[in-house]
Amino acid sequence: MIELRHVSKTFDTGSKDKQVHAVRDVSLTIADGEIFGIIGFSGAGKSTLVRCINLLERPTSGSVIIDGEDLTAFSEKKLRQARKKIGMIFQHFNLMNSRTVYDNVAYPLLGSKMDRETKRRKVLELLDIVGLTDKAEAYPSQLSGGQKQRVAIARALANNPKVLLCDEATSALDPQTTQDILRLLRQLRERLNLTIVLITHEMAVVKQICTRVAVMEDGQVVEEGKIYDVFSSPQQPITRRFIRTTTHIEGIEELLRNDPAALGLEPGDTVVRYDCSGDRTSQASVSRISREYGVDISIIFGNVEMLLDTPFGTMIVVFRGEESAVKAALAEFERSASRVEVICHV
């Protein structure tokens, strides 16, 4: 378990009035086996926060407790030992160009008491896990971005860590490779019972892989919760902004505001936003209600997100018909959905 208690980090930039408060009083608890996402725009302090977990950045105040031990109280030597149990991967991979893939993965084992044969088997096993056995003798410069990140993952796992920190690990990769790496991370979590802390600015990454998420803004965690809860009912404006980046709902809302005629709306129509989740997404609510109440319901926007394997649907529908029938249909609609919001009456 990782516990951050009132962690703050302030950088001095010379004069007193120019202090930068990168992280302000952040408290988080991350349970074993979680994939915990920390999302924020650049400059929000998320990279500094993740570096506070393995003390690459020493917090100005607050404590970092991993499995009951306060890392901030450790001596340098003890801290180095503790770091071996916290793997880390980076946006730019940070592999050593002068070493082969094999030697990069073997690096964390240098100076360990393991005998040569055990080390060799360990490195080959790690390369096998990430699917790069055939690249053992290649140099990083000969690999693609995705392959480099796989090497970095293998290297991070060499000392059998319990925690894996990912600092924008997919931000330099193309969408296809991002998918591959995320899939690998999920497999690893299950196989090795890892706890993964993942920093990103991409909501698409968070919704695919994270069990919980914290949203950071200006050095603070402004919202935190299970991925599903945060996604289905975001509390903060910034969280909504992040969610919009993946749902494409923005475009249709703009169209509704600026040019409703383009959507073929007629006077008397009611435009409704409708969210549904989990098993409800598979129920044929729209056609059933349309039939039962004798109203026309047309869908002008629809999107289903997979939030860590739970479907979450968003629709914008138009009700057309007798005013009383529409009212009754709407009431029934509200019962069948997670959330119904009337956007406008034309």
């Binding site: 393995n54 690459l56 340098e76 030597k77 180095r80 030992q81 503790a82 770091r83 071996k84 916290i86 793997g87 880390m88 980076f90 730019h92 940070n94 592999l95 050593m96 160009n97 002068s98 070493r99 690096y107 964390p108 240098l110 100076g111 140099y139 410069s141 970095a152 290297r155 991070a156 060499a158 000392n159 920190l165």
Partner: protein
């Protein structure tokens, strides 16, 4: 062949034993000074990098003092440095003239230069890689030997090549002030006795020497990715 050489550069042929002696003196001066400077240069270069602000063993005092000392020594012209160091050279080397007397000032002049070369080579090492090593639990010394000196090797070899070429130039200058070697040979025969062929021949020999060293340096540093 011999007759042709005698016509082409009569004085070189006449003074050839002198040339041979001077050539090996140059090699000795450059070789010894390079070896000693390499040790100190790498040491100071590493110290500069690790103690710099944001370095793995940040130390403002050491960093700024060393930085200034290096700048001071780099600012003194070599001929003046030789004169300045005379008493100290006599104490340390036992003599202030000849090959032996030249080595000490050569080292003093080269160490700051090479330290800077090493410093800039090590600055090229990706901060992210150093950070990754820290995240993997490497200590400062492990990072110096397993990351900096290894990842920065290509740049260090390039710096060493420039330094050795520079040393050859300096060693010739040491010849002007009683240091021996090819510079001394060229001055005594080529300049003072107006034996132009000696001057030209010495130049060609130095040119070849420099070319060989530069090519070797290029090949070695290219191998190190």
């Amino acid at each position: 062949m011999y007759e042709q050489l005698q016509v082409l550069m009569p004085n070189v042929v006449k003074t050839f034993p002198e040339f041979q002696k001077a050539f090996f003196e140059t090699l000795e001066m450059v070789g010894t000074a390079a070896a000693v400077s390499a040790l100190f240069g790498i040491f100071f270069g590493v110290v500069l990098v690790v103690t710099a602000p944001g370095g793995i063993m940040e130390n403002k005092l050491i960093s700024s003092v060393l930085d200034k000392v290096i700048n001071v020594f780099r600012a003194i012209p070599f001929v003046i440095l030789i004169a300045l160091l005379l008493p100290l050279t006599r104490i340390i080397m036992g003599t202030s003239i000849g090959t032996k007397g030249a080595i000490f000032p050569l080292v003093v002049a080269t160490v700051p230069f090479f330290s800077r070369q090493i410093h800039s080579a090590l600055c090229e090492v990706d901060r992210g890689v150093v950070e990754a090593a820290q995240a993997m639990g490497s200590g400062p010394w492990e990072i110096v030997f397993r990351v900096y000196l290894r990842e920065g090797l290509g740049g260090m070899i390039r710096g060493a090549t420039i330094t050795v070429v520079n040393l050859i130039t300096l060693s010739a200058m040491a010849g002007c002030v009683g240091g021996g070697g090819l510079g001394d040979y060229a001055i005594r025969y080529g300049f003072q006795r107006k034996m132009t062929d000696v001057t030209l021949f010495t130049c060609v020999v130095l040119l070849i020497l420099v070319t060989i060293i530069q090519s070797a340096g290029n090949v070695l540093s290219a191998k190190k990715h």
